[in-house]
């Protein structure tokens, strides 16, 4: 099953209320996915350097010490704040330096996302609990995608929940199941892509990461995904400037899109859109199979 939701703001009108508008969308999809939930929010962008979402199993982990360690080791400046089990680190240096440093010196710290504006927050539990845990309704930003999970292909764990990071400022949520993920995981591993779980969606995320590394544009990478990935899926892909929606050629997994002058919203079911302002007069339609829909700031 699973539910996916996305909200992309076309202008500044609702940016201060992004989290508040999105929270009920996530909670409305509880019936489709009650076992875990997560979201990727884009906002609070850094002008220079990189923003990381880091997670540690220990809720009392000493993030301040980690920030100091990074500052000393990499001779850089770190701004950070804590949110439940995660911390947002803004580091004025290259992403690779920080990632290598963490892998070597703090392997217990998980990197959930990296980019200039993305933050990925996800946990096991009911969507309402996760929305409250991270105080989503207070968050601001330009766009956000989310997922409520009913696991079918792999274990119910934080690591197996969505969104999955697919690169700098990129992430993926998925409703459906992939049937060729084992073979594809092996192929991608041979090409240097790292996997943390045996989850099928992580393979789709890894596939997009690989294609983007090969020089594909996001559109080209998604076209390759339509050819190579076998199974049922509706994907929503978060990018730095917007989001994209793709359904498989059979289009068994539901998706509905609503558009007004102020926003584009997508959801597995219309029920998740009913609390949005002006939804009564929105253009509401179902995305076509095998078609890439993308909205990006600056392009429309």
């Amino acid at each position: 099953m699973c539910g996916i939701v996305g909200l992309y703001l076309k202008n500044d009108k609702y940016q201060s209320r992004l989290g508040e508008l999105f929270s009920p969308m996530m909670i409305a999809m509880t019936e489709r996915g009650p076992d875990s939930a997560g979201f990727a929010i884009y906002g609070d962008a850094v002008d220079s350097g990189i923003k990381f979402t880091l997670r540690h199993e220990d809720e009392n982990y000493d993030w301040e010490k980690l920030a100091k360690d990074i500052e000393e080791a990499l001779v850089t400046k770190v701004d950070w704040f804590k949110n439940s089990k995660v911390a947002i680190f803004k580091v004025k240096t290259d992403a690779d330096f920080v990632e290598n440093y963490l892998h070597e010196n703090h392997p217990d710290v998980l990197i959930m996302s990296a980019g200039t504006s993305i933050e990925i927050l996800k946990e096991v539990g009911l969507p309402e609990r996760i929305v409250n845990m991270f105080n989503l309704d207070k968050m601001q930003g330009t766009h956000i995608i989310g997922h409520t999970r009913m696991a079918t292909e792999s274990a119910v764990t934080m690591a197996g929940s969505h969104p999955f990071s697919t690169g700098m400022d990129l992430c993926l949520v998925h409703n459906g199941s992939l049937s060729n993920h084992n073979r594809m995981r092996q192929e991608l591993k041979r090409n240097g892509i790292h996997f943390d779980t045996d989850n099928d969606t992580e393979v789709a995320a890894g596939f997009l990461t690989y294609r983007l590394q090969q020089g594909d544009s996001l559109h080209q990478a998604l076209e390759h995904a339509l050819k190579e990935l076998d199974g049922f899926y509706t994907f929503t892909i978060g990018t730095k400037d917007g989001f994209a929606v793709v359904r498989d050629p059979i289009a068994c997994k539901p998706a509905v899109i609503a558009e007004t002058d102020d926003y584009v919203a997508m959801a597995s079911e219309y029920q998740a859109l009913t609390t949005l302002p002006g939804i009564e007069n929105a253009k509401v339609w179902e995305p076509e199979p095998s078609t890439i829909y993308a909205w990006e700031r600056g392009s429309n």
């Binding site: 289009a251 539901p254 509401v284």
Partner: protein, 227 residues
């Protein structure tokens, strides 16, 4: 007229109240407020009622309908009027996939577009779509009529039995064993009558007819590649 506000009452309250009319009909006009995409609205009705749903409906709206006339003043989710027996369902907006699936009788009118698999395995109903229909529409359709005033997606009428399909616009591709057929007077009459019943103002002469080539009814080894 009886009004049920789904902001205050549940879908079960609504359906129970409508089902109660089967035994003793005390109210024929019903209005449903704040549907907000909820599933299973006005399903399993068995009485000559008029039900106006003021907003968007979720999955399976008007499913298994007998006799009632249901109007959705908005869009409808998957499986609207699935397995309808008689009566009518009219959707003012768009419908999602599998509209009128396995429907046995009655009239389904979609004033916008219908998604994929519209009329899948239909068994005798009449479906009129003012806009387009998605891929695999009328898959394994057994009996009844599907009218599409816009375009049809891929694999229209795949593995078709005896549904009469009329399409005014383009057909992206025909499914296995579905072919274009001659439009004879009897078909113009059938289509005119149905368009009139649906309240759709279109010229029946502008449509093309599609039907079964009847080559896949029984297994023939020569056709193995078509299955």
């Amino acid at each position: 007229m009886k009004t049920i506000d789904l902001a205050k009452q549940t879908v079960r309250d609504l359906n129970q109240a409508l089902h109660d009319q089967a035994a003793a009909c005390t109210e024929t006009e019903w209005e449903v407020l704040n549907p907000k995409g909820q599933h299973n609205l006005a399903v399993g009705l068995d009485q000559k009622l008029r039900v106006d749903i003021k907003g968007h409906a979720g999955y399976y709206c008007g499913g298994m309908n007998k006799e009632a006339d249901i109007v959705v003043h908005g869009s409808a989710g998957q499986g609207v009027a699935e397995n309808m027996m008689s009566g009518s369902v009219r959707v003012k907006g768009n419908a999602s996939s599998s509209a009128g699936a396995t429907s046995i009788g009655g009239l389904l009118v979609i004033e916008g577009d219908a998604g994929s698999r519209c009329g899948i395995s239909m068994k005798g109903s009449d479906i009129v779509v003012t806009g387009n229909v998605g891929h695999m529409s009328c898959f394994m359709g057994q009996a009844g009529t599907l009218v599409v005033c816009g375009d049809a997606g891929d694999a229209l009428g795949d593995s078709l039995y005896e549904v009469h399909i009329y399409v005014k616009g383009e057909v992206k591709s025909l499914g296995a064993d579905c072919i274009a057929k001659e439009m004879r007077d009897e078909h113009i009459q059938e289509l005119s009558h149905l368009l009139k019943r649906a309240g759709v103002d279109e010229d029946p002469h502008a449509f093309k007819r599609y039907g079964s080539a009847r080559q896949l009814y029984n297994f023939k080894v020569d056709n193995a590649s078509a299955y």
